[in-house]
């Protein structure tokens, strides 16, 4: 009988000790890693990859910096609470240079190179316009935080949604009653000469007419302009209110030169805070704005009746009561816009959880789930306020704030209702095929 030598199955003392040491080490390590154990229940612990299209350079850079901080803070908060469907969220950020062509390339990179589940984050309307068609072609959900009216206007596609920030049309429309009741009926508008400015021009003129007011002059300024005095003579003398909305690096010059031009005999001034996002209200020249009014998406200065949600959100992102970075009081946030990143990420979370999202094959389910969202309550996830999402137009609607400049700070003067911001649907994306 041949002797078969069996391979030894006996465990030696040495290997047993080794295995034991590695095993306990791993368990101990897992215990110390925050959130590690919680993901272990999920079918897949692969992270959900969110492509973050961010304006790190170009004219949108200040917004980009704060969009990034808010996004990182929201991601941390979501991951600390167990992630989405038990999976961690991973942000893959790419700079689009605030450039539409680069924007489309970035979306393409997210879809084909980084294997992202979706793309998110863009602010500037021309970048959204440049990128959204590509997102539609690549069939990757594209959640923008842009406040342009392009989503709800029907010009984009079923893959593009804006659930975290209201659009210009509703913002502007909600301002008209306040302006005509409190400031004056004859308005001169000064706005940048591209889509965003044209939205202001068209929707505010129409809304003001409904209130019995009139826009008596419309002054379009090229977005690259660096000197503004030459435009001010075009403001008619009988102007009661100057309505200004400027963006880009030259906004301080704009206000300063307006101050030099008018001095103390100024008309009432109503502006969109876009003109001064990321700009310290104590900057030289801005004292001219004392007593003027601003639209704010979310009050920059912590108000007396600040909600606990706002307080917690401020702390999570690292913003102090004056709207500046806690680490550098000169680094002022883009408080009226960046909450959109926080809220959009939570809406993505809700959508993915409702859709039972597992991977890119469920992208259409995610879009359908978000489309079916309607009421969004004021909460830690939505610190700016309650909102109503319109699944047909892919656009969210919410409260708008009007603040007055008092002692160099912005003090909340009026909060609009959500109803003030609603308008008739211009599109039904849900009828479009995927």
């Amino acid at each position: 009988m041949p002797i078969i030598k069996k391979p030894s199955r006996l465990v030696t003392r040495r290997s047993a000790l080794k295995g034991l040491a590695v095993g306990t080490g791993a368990v101990a390590a897992a215990g110390t890693l925050p959130g590690f154990v919680r993901y272990s229940q999920a079918q897949s612990s692969e992270p959900i990859r969110i492509g973050f299209q961010v304006h790190r350079t170009g004219i949108g850079a200040a917004y980009g910096r704060w969009y990034d901080r808010t996004t990182q803070a929201a991601t941390k908060a979501i991951n600390d609470a167990g992630g989405i469907n038990g999976r961690p969220v991973e942000i893959i950020a790419e700079d689009d240079g605030t450039d539409p062509k680069r924007g489309a390339e970035v979306v393409e990179k997210f879809a084909s190179q980084h294997n992202c589940d979706l793309a998110f984050g863009t602010l500037f309307s021309h970048v959204v316009f440049g990128s959204a068609p590509r997102a539609g072609e690549l069939k990757i959900p594209y959640f923008v935080v842009s406040e342009g009216h392009h989503v709800a206007s029907g010009k984009l596609n079923r893959y593009t949604l804006q659930p975290g920030i209201t659009d210009v049309k509703s913002q502007v429309q909600a301002m008209a009653p306040f302006v005509s009741d409190n400031l004056g009926k004859k308005v001169t508008m000064i706005y940048p000469d591209f889509a965003f400015g044209h939205d202001h021009r068209d929707y505010f003129s129409a809304a003001l007419e409904q209130q019995g007011g009139e826009v008596i002059a419309k002054i379009a300024i090229p977005p690259t302009e660096s000197s503004f005095t030459k435009y001010f003579p075009k403001i008619p003398r009988d102007t009661e209110v100057i309505y200004h909305v400027m963006v880009g690096p030259a906004v301080l010059t704009f206000v300063k030169e307006m101050g030099e031009f008018y001095g103390p005999n100024k008309p009432e001034i109503f502006g969109f805070i876009d003109s001064l996002e990321a700009v310290d209200m104590a900057s030289p020249g801005l004292e001219f704005l004392e007593g003027s009014y601003f639209w704010e998406g979310n009050p920059r200065y912590a108000q007396k009746d600040q909600s606990t949600y706002d307080k917690d959100y401020r702390a999570a992102v690292g913003v102090d009561d004056n709207g500046a970075s806690v680490s550098d009081p000169k680094d002022v946030s883009t408080y009226s816009h960046m909450f959109g990143c926080w809220e959009t990420l939570y809406t993505i979370k809700d959508g993915m959880e409702a859709a039972g999202y597992k991977g890119p094959e469920d992208r259409t389910k995610l879009i359908e789930a978000v489309e079916s969202i309607t009421d969004i309550p004021h909460s830690a996830e939505h610190p700016q306020g309650a909102k109503i999402f319109n699944g047909k137009t892919h656009q969210v609607f919410g409260h708008q704030y009007i603040s007055k400049v008092k002692d160099g700070k912005l003090e909340l003067a009026h909060t609009t209702s959500i109803e003030d911001t609603l308008y008739d649907d211009e599109v039904d994306y849900t009828t479009q095929p995927f």
Binding site: G58, A62, R65, P222, S226, P233, P249, E257, E260
Partner: protein, 293 residues
């Protein structure tokens, strides 16, 4: 607004634009005249001046005038030193070959721009004007600082002119411009002259930027417009002609101011560009340029 005050405002705006433009363009023209180098990075030296001005102004506490004066002295100096170094380490190695120097200065443009982006960041930052009194005219107010810009630019341009025509340095510069080989034969250290001219050109651009930065803000992309306008001015005035450059700067600056106020800024740019095209067709050497030998 009535036509009179309207025209006054337009002329004032035009004069400020012309003053800044003349300083910037003279720098570009000087470099081309003496070295035959088309400095595409000229606008970036302008930007560097503005960014350095912000930095110096933020170093000094107290009255904004102290920081401004410090910036007015130091920012152009630093820009000049960087430019002279670029001349020594890059342009000289290319033997000032016209095509190669264009490519090299394009490279320089990106290096400066991106370095500023990485260090100073993408924000536009204000510099407080040394004084900011407002003149009350019956029709509109105007900043006194803008008059200072016009005055300072005139003084600086007269200084450059005196230096070129009355001093030994100017003589050496003109000699190198007329015939660099002959100048070399007469013992003029042409390399040093070239480094100095390149530095001077950059310094003038930086100086213009320091003057303008309390009106505008320092931003890493601000070099594009001055470069384009300087080229327009230098082409209209005649490449290498200082007098032509100043005249063209006044022409372009004033017409830009007046056309922008009465019609639109876009039209002003269109007309300036059209003027360049006509000058190139009918008088390729520019209004004041001499035919090269």
């Amino acid at each position: 607004m009535d036509l009179g005050p309207y025209l006054l405002l337009a002329s004032l705006e035009g004069a400020v634009a012309a003053a800044v433009l003349a300083l910037t363009a003279v720098g570009l023209s000087l470099v081309f005249g003496v070295m035959r180098v088309v400095n595409v990075a000229h606008g970036e030296f302008f930007m560097l001046g503005a960014v350095l001005a912000w930095w110096f102004a933020s170093l000094v506490a107290g009255h904004p005038a102290f920081g401004f004066v410090l910036a007015l002295i130091c920012a152009p100096l630093i820009a000049a030193v960087i430019a002279a170094a670029a001349d020594y380490f890059v342009l000289k190695r290319l033997n000032y070959d016209p095509e190669a120097t264009i490519v090299a200065t394009i490279g320089l443009l990106y290096i400066i721009q991106q370095t500023v982006l990485m260090t100073y960041g993408p924000d536009a930052r204000p510099v407080e004007a040394p004084f900011n009194a407002r003149i009350y005219l019956p029709w509109f107010g105007y900043s006194t600082y803008k008059f200072f810009v016009i005055g300072a630019a005139i003084v600086l341009l007269i200084g450059v002119w005196i230096m070129l025509t009355k001093t030994r340095i100017g003589l050496v510069l003109r000699a190198s411009q007329l015939d660099s080989e002959m100048a070399l034969a007469f013992g003029i250290k042409v390399d040093q002259v070239y480094a100095m001219v390149f530095g001077l050109g950059a310094g003038l651009a930086a100086m213009a930027a320091v003057l303008v930065v309390p009106i505008q803000q320092a931003h890493y992309l601000m070099g594009g417009d001055p470069l384009l306008l300087s080229f327009i001015v230098v082409i209209i005035g005649g490449l290498g002609s200082i007098a032509g450059t100043v005249v063209a700067a006044i022409l372009i600056g004033m017409s830009d101011g007046i056309i922008s106020v009465f019609f639109s800024p876009t039209l002003a740019k269109i007309i300036a560009t059209l003027l360049v095209a006509f000058v190139l067709i009918f008088r390729p050497t520019g209004l004041f340029g001499k035919r090269s030998i």
